[in-house]
């Protein structure tokens, strides 16, 4: 009986931890993403293979890569476990992917800006499986995204 209460207590504690810590982390991350995206509004990113606007010869276009790994929290993992039983959309995991992709892109923009570029094309996203999602018995629920893009400096109009 005591054991049951302790186990239940731990479970409720972890759920609460996921709810408070996880939700705060996510909200803060989204706010920071929005701020940084606003700062980088002038930096044009496309996923075209050509170089829209034309590229100057020097500095030569250069590839930039960035990665972001975002972890799920206990609440999200628990809720999606229930969701998976009934089937349907796993909303709580979608936000993880969105955060990882936006974060990786912003990291590319930061690097490219620091190197003196103002545009990037051919943006590609790649996901990795470090946590071992293909092996659900062990491993943690994570989203790992690698983004690559070619940065260049646009030709001045006229």
């Amino acid at each position: 009986m005591v054991e049951l209460i302790i186990n239940l207590g731990i479970f409720v504690f972890l759920l609460a931890l996921g709810f408070f810590a996880g939700t705060t982390t996510e909200r803060r991350h989204f706010r920071r993403l929005e701020e940084r995206e606003e700062e980088n509004r002038g930096f044009v990113v496309t996923q075209l293979k050509t170089f829209p606007g034309g590229s100057v010869v020097s500095p030569a276009p250069q590839i930039f890569m960035a990665e972001a790994v975002i972890a799920s929290d206990y609440l999200k993992t628990f809720l999606s476990g229930i969701r998976k039983f009934f089937g349907g959309e796993l909303k709580s995991y979608e936000s993880l992917l969105e955060r990882a992709r936006r974060e990786a892109l912003l990291r590319i923009i930061d690097q490219a800006r620091a190197a003196g570029y103002d545009t990037a094309c051919n943006l590609r996203y790649e996901t990795a499986d470090i946590g071992g999602a293909t092996n659900p018995k062990k491993g943690v629920v994570t989203v790992a995204v690698i983004a690559t893009a070619t940065a260049y400096r646009r030709k001045q109009a006229g």
């Binding site: 972890l14 931890l17 996921g18 810590a21 996880g22 982390t25 996510e26 991350h29 293979k49 050509t50 170089f51 034309g54 590229s55 100057v56 010869v57 030569a60 276009p61 250069q62 590839i63 890569m65 990665e67 972001a68 790994v69 975002i70 972890a71 799920s72 929290d73 206990y74 999200k76 993992t77 974060e103 094309c121 051919n122 590609r124 790649e126 996901t127 990795a128 499986d129 470090i130 946590g131 071992g132 999602a133 293909t134 092996n135 062990k138 491993g139 943690v140 629920v141 994570t142 790992a144 690698i146 690559t148 893009a149 070619t150 260049y152």
Partner: protein, 111 residues
């Protein structure tokens, strides 16, 4: 060395194609990082250790690819692609591949 993930390089002319160059690596972090990751999994947020792991792997695969290109005497790699595969939990395999070429500024050939 000019490296891009696009098929063309504006302002430059491809003089010679040296062929496919590639680099791969499988890396992991020490067990402490894996344990830390499983704790972080309770509260959510970025797993800095694993981000670092990916950065290191990507750099290593990239350097190996660049090394091959240098050996072939290329001065640029075009159309670089990355792929990852799941070998085991806590490890990352990164594979980088591209086409090694010799390029020169297009204006140089005109004059």
């Amino acid at each position: 060395m000019i490296v891009t993930n696009t098929e063309t390089l504006p302002g430059y002319r491809v003089q010679a194609v040296k062929g496919l160059v590639q680099g791969n690596t499988v890396r992991s972090k020490h067990a402490g990082r894996d344990i830390a990751a499983s704790f972080k999994n309770l509260v959510g947020g970025e797993l800095k250790g694993y981000t670092e792991l990916l950065t290191e792997s990507r750099r290593q695969a990239f350097e190996r690819m660049m090394g091959q290109a240098q050996q072939l005497g290329a001065n640029a790699i075009l159309n670089v692609r990355f792929t990852t595969s799941a070998v085991t939990a806590g490890a990352a395999e990164l594979y980088a591949y591209g086409t090694a070429v010799v390029v020169e500024p297009a204006t140089a050939t005109v004059s």
